[in-house]
């Protein structure tokens, strides 16, 4: 048999191997380490190497895009030598980045040419008032209004009694030289937020909050309104979780006794905890925060504002209010300037709230004529299908599993969360990637998707999600909750127990993915546009920084399409709230999005249950919908 030379960039001498030798085997002879977390099955893509020159044959290019192959990449475990070749083995971190780059959520950035003063509803103006005298007997408030009118042309301004009470001393102590912060309002008259001595105001920060109140996760961004930049980001579990995991149980809780005000206190408390921490770290006072734009699903909005949400749950599922007015902060209870404004973004219907209208804006779906599928994966999965011309939307209850709740070792995407998993097809041993390269503490949403996909493709799970207990591996065992798979042993994990995934967890995850996929299916069927027509699939939600699209397709969460059609956007709800906070025009656009969407109520649709049970399988009862998974399984 012909013998060829394989030259590795990092190795001085070429290695002589027979034709047909796998690149991994050649590398091993040269003592070069090539990662193979999937056990050399060509599934994980982490053994990608660059073929600089020479003839090779790629048996499989799964995980490599056509562009990758064009650039000379090949999977070392699937590629054989057919001539003298030169190979570069890239450092692991390069491979890692290449594999996930396309799927990492972009950071929030200011729009091009953004002008803070022009775009925002908040304005701060410096005013030099004429001091009163025996000849000029105008009252303090009138004097302030006159100065404002002269400086800005604004005729009327609303204020609170509290502002009036503090006004006299401020004016006199500042030598009648003050800075006025006010909200321009949308259609009505402006509202005074703060009067400060001008000297003090020049130094003072001017801040806003973008808040996304999710059923499971609450996110808060602190924004410097002087520049429009995001200065801090925080998110944590909604403290209401202890009173029910989904919106329905929260609504029921709210309708009993003081449940409503208790839930309100809990969510306000969740927000304020984060705001307090951010204020301390950013060295600002809550009074410096003058505006909060809030997004969230309809139930969460109602609970936050203390509006009884009961009718959301009952047929015909009507919200008390979709287009909420802006309200004074003191009435909401958020830790910010009491006279600041809280601007709740508008929703569409009971189960399609401001999180979606804000998300649609943030996703850019409205700006493109291309047919686009936008999905926000949270405790409720909301789906929008459409383009700049039309939009239909629906919501399905997915449960909190993809946010790491309702799963025994689930957690949010923080340091210590397992976010990517590969399982060796022959030993069933997992390899993990953990956020922050820390010891694993739990598994976040993207990790759970990867875990289920890998367990399925390596035969640890059957198509119904049953753990195959006949496998010869200590990883599969019977635990307190039935069969389980050990993802990390206690000694590798930070805690004193093994990190496992149980049959119950898997059922929760399968139900969540089935609900979301069924939503896609029913929505597409209802408008008569096949899912494959979607040119872009935009994914928002609380998946942390990324989601492995391939693995999400493997488990049947996302429709089987070319990977380059998918884009991961991160938390689009808070992003939309942020953009609305810093730009009035965006706020108006979100209102028009809310009015333009056609809402489809799935509970009134018999086909949903059918679509749901057929999706309650890996990847789906109808395997022909997932040809790439079918190919990967054989």
């Amino acid at each position: 048999m012909a013998e060829y030379n394989v030259r590795f960039a990092s190795h001085p001498e070429p290695i002589g191997v027979p034709a047909g030798t796998l690149l991994v085997d050649a590398a091993r002879e040269a003592s070069i380490e090539v990662q193979q977390p999937c056990g050399g099955q060509g599934r994980c893509g982490r053994c990608a190497v660059q073929v600089d020159s020479g003839a090779v044959r790629r048996r499989s290019v799964l995980r490599l895009s056509p562009a990758d192959v064009e650039a000379g990449f090949a999977l070392a475990c699937q590629t054989v030598v057919e001539g003298d070749v030169s190979i570069t083995v890239p450092p692991p971190e390069v491979i890692e980045r290449r594999l996930v780059t396309d799927h990492i959520a972009p950071e929030a950035a200011l729009p091009d040419g953004y002008d803070a003063a022009e775009s925002q509803s908040i304005r701060r103006v410096e005013l030099q008032l004429t001091p009163p005298s025996m000849d000029d007997q105008t009252d303090d408030w009138g004097r302030l209004c006159t100065a404002l009118r002269q400086a800005t042309g604004i005729e009327h301004m609303e204020t609170s009694l509290e502002q009036i009470r503090g006004l006299g001393p401020i004016l006199r102590n500042s030598d009648w030289h003050v800075a006025l912060t006010f909200d321009r309002g949308r259609n009505g008259s402006p509202r005074l937020i703060r009067v400060q001595p001008a000297a003090e105001a020049l130094e003072a920060p001017l801040c806003g909050l973008a808040i996304d109140v999710g059923t499971t996760t609450v996110s808060v961004w602190l924004v410097d309104l002087l520049t429009g930049n995001v200065t801090r980001q925080a998110s944590q579990y909604n403290q209401q979780i202890a009173r029910g995991e989904d919106v329905i149980s929260r609504i029921i809780y709210a309708s009993k006794g003081d449940g409503g005000s208790e839930l309100r206190d809990l969510v306000v408390g969740t927000i304020n905890e984060m705001v307090d921490t951010m204020c301390a770290r950013a060295k600002i006072e809550p009074a410096d925060i003058v505006k909060a734009t809030v997004s969230g699903n309809s139930t969460m909005m109602h609970l936050l504002l203390g509006i009884p949400p009961e009718s959301i749950r009952l047929e015909p599922f009507i919200t008390p209010i979709n287009h909420l007015p802006r309200v004074p902060a003191s009435e909401v209870g958020i830790a910010m300037n009491r006279d600041g404004v809280v601007d709740p973004l508008p929703g569409v219907a009971s189960y399609v709230g401001a999180d979606i209208t804000a998300g649609v804006f943030a996703s850019g779906l409205r700006e493109s004529p291309d047919t686009t599928l936008f999905i926000d994966v949270g405790t409720n999965g909301e789906i929008v299908f459409g383009s700049s011309e039309w939009m239909v939307t629906c919501a399905c209850s997915a449960g909190p599993a993809f946010e790491g709740a309702g799963v025994i070792h689930g957690m949010r995407a923080n340091t210590g969360a397992i976010e990517e998993v590969w399982i060796d097809g022959s030993t069933h041993e997992p390899s993990l990637r953990v956020i922050g390269n820390a010891a694993p503490r739990g598994i976040c949403g993207s990790g759970l998707i990867a875990l289920i996909a890998e367990m399925f493709l390596t035969g640890v799970l059957d198509k119904a999600g049953n753990i195959n207990q006949t496998l010869e591996t200590p990883r599969v065992r019977r635990g307190l909750h039935g069969a389980e798979y050990v993802v990390a042993w206690a000694e590798e994990a930070e805690g004193n127990e093994d990190i496992v995934i149980t049959r119950v967890d898997i059922d929760n995850l399968l139900r969540a993915k089935a609900a979301i996929y069924a939503g896609f299916k029913v929505l597409a069927d209802r408008v008569g546009v096949p899912l494959e027509m979607a040119e872009h699939v935009l994914i928002g939600g609380s998946f942390g920084k990324y989601i492995n699209v391939e693995k999400a397709i493997d488990i049947g969460l996302l429709p089987d399409m070319a990977w380059d059609r998918f884009e991961f956007l991160g938390n689009t709800s808070v992003k939309g709230a942020y953009l609305a906070l810093i730009d009035q025009a965006v706020r108006d656009e979100i209102a028009s999005i809310a009015s333009d969407m056609t809402y489809i109520e799935l509970s009134a649709d018999n086909s949903f249950y059918e679509a749901f049970t057929s999706a309650l399988f890996l990847p789906h009862t109808d395997l022909s919908l997932f040809p790439s998974v079918e190919a990967a399984m054989t």
């Binding site: 059957d462 198509k463 049953n466 006949t470 399988f617 009862t621």
Partner: protein, 323 residues
């Protein structure tokens, strides 16, 4: 005036499955039963011939009969105390298939043992030449514990073993594969769940012609319309060519009918309900005949009189000539 009856041509065919094996085929059965093969909806003889008539099984239990209606016990008499004699009586009554359903305990009330299960099944095989369906009590661990030794000790008989369910099918399917038996999978009245279990079982390598499915039904007045509709939809999917729904269907109208209040209770009911025994048999017969019309290939009954009536109905349906 002549009316042209529209004739549907379907692309799919229901699998043909043979229950039991004669000596020539490695078993001991005097008679085997072949079901399935339909190419159109039930009894649409003007479209295609129905190659095999629906068959009737009678059910017996080698366990305590506490939950069997007194009417049934009276009808069978003292044979219920001896599985072999009960099996012989079932064959004498004219059944096509015998279903042996184990409960959790033996007649003495002690937990059932694998040895008891094996000896009982062997005694039944000895006493009757009919094909057998052998079902565990429906509790995963006990089912596996009983069915595996039964399968091992009756290799080649082409027994139908069950119940396979989505969370518990591996063990039974594996032992059926190893011993040339068949399996029956039960799913709770849902087209997709039925299809999914069939996929799981065939994924293990069991050929489709060795599986029958029980899509679960309800008794008359207790959800039969739901069960009927699921069976009808499964059959329509099968005829449209969906391989994972092309399995013959086995349903248990006997069990379902005899647990209804109308069949079970003789006292303290309105007089207008009529004679208790009659009522029970009517209930079972009507449930079973409805399911035959929905596409059932095997109906499992409990009362010998119901068997006669359902047989009569099937015979009529099978011979009904096109107008």
């Amino acid at each position: 005036m002549s009316i042209e009856i529209p004739v549907d041509k379907w692309p799919g065919t229901v699998n043909t499955v043979t229950l039991g094996a004669t000596e020539a085929d490695g078993g001991t059965r005097a008679k085997v039963v072949t079901i399935g093969g339909e190419q159109s909806l039930p009894f649409m003889h003007f479209e295609t011939e129905m190659p095999h008539s629906p068959v009737i099984a009678l059910e017996m239990t080698p366990s305590r009969t506490d939950d069997w209606s007194q009417i049934l016990l009276d009808a069978w008499g003292d044979v219920v105390e001896d599985p072999a004699r009960w099996a012989a009586a079932i064959e004498a009554a004219g059944a096509d298939v015998i279903v042996v359903t184990f409960g959790l305990t033996d007649p003495a009330g002690d937990p059932i043992t694998p040895d008891y299960a094996v000896s009982t099944v062997k005694a039944v095989l000895e006493a009757s030449g009919l094909p057998l369906v052998v079902l565990g009590p429906g509790q995963a661990d006990v089912d596996n514990e009983l069915i595996v030794p039964v399968a091992d000790s009756t290799k080649g008989e082409r027994l139908v073993l069950g119940l396979c369910e989505d969370g518990n099918y591996r063990t039974i399917v594996a032992s059926a594969m190893a011993n040339d038996h068949l399996v029956v999978g039960r799913t709770p009245m849902d087209v997709n769940l039925a299809k999914q279990l069939n996929i799981l079982m065939t994924d293990m390598g069991l050929p489709l012609d060795r599986i029958v499915m029980d899509p679960t039904t309800g008794g008359l007045g207790y959800g039969i319309e739901y069960g009927y509709s699921v069976m009808e939809r499964l059959r329509l999917a099968a005829l449209q060519g969906d391989a994972m729904t092309q399995l013959p269907m086995l349903v248990t109208p006997g069990y379902e009918a005899w647990r209804t209040k109308e069949a079970k209770v003789g006292e303290g009911v309105p007089e207008t309900w009529g004679d208790w025994a009659d009522r029970g048999v009517h209930w079972e017969t009507l449930t079973a005949v409805s399911l035959v019309e929905a596409g059932a290939d095997v109906v499992v009954l409990r009362h010998p009189e119901s068997l006669k009536r359902v047989r009569e109905a099937i015979d009529e349906l099978m011979t009904a000539a096109p107008a």
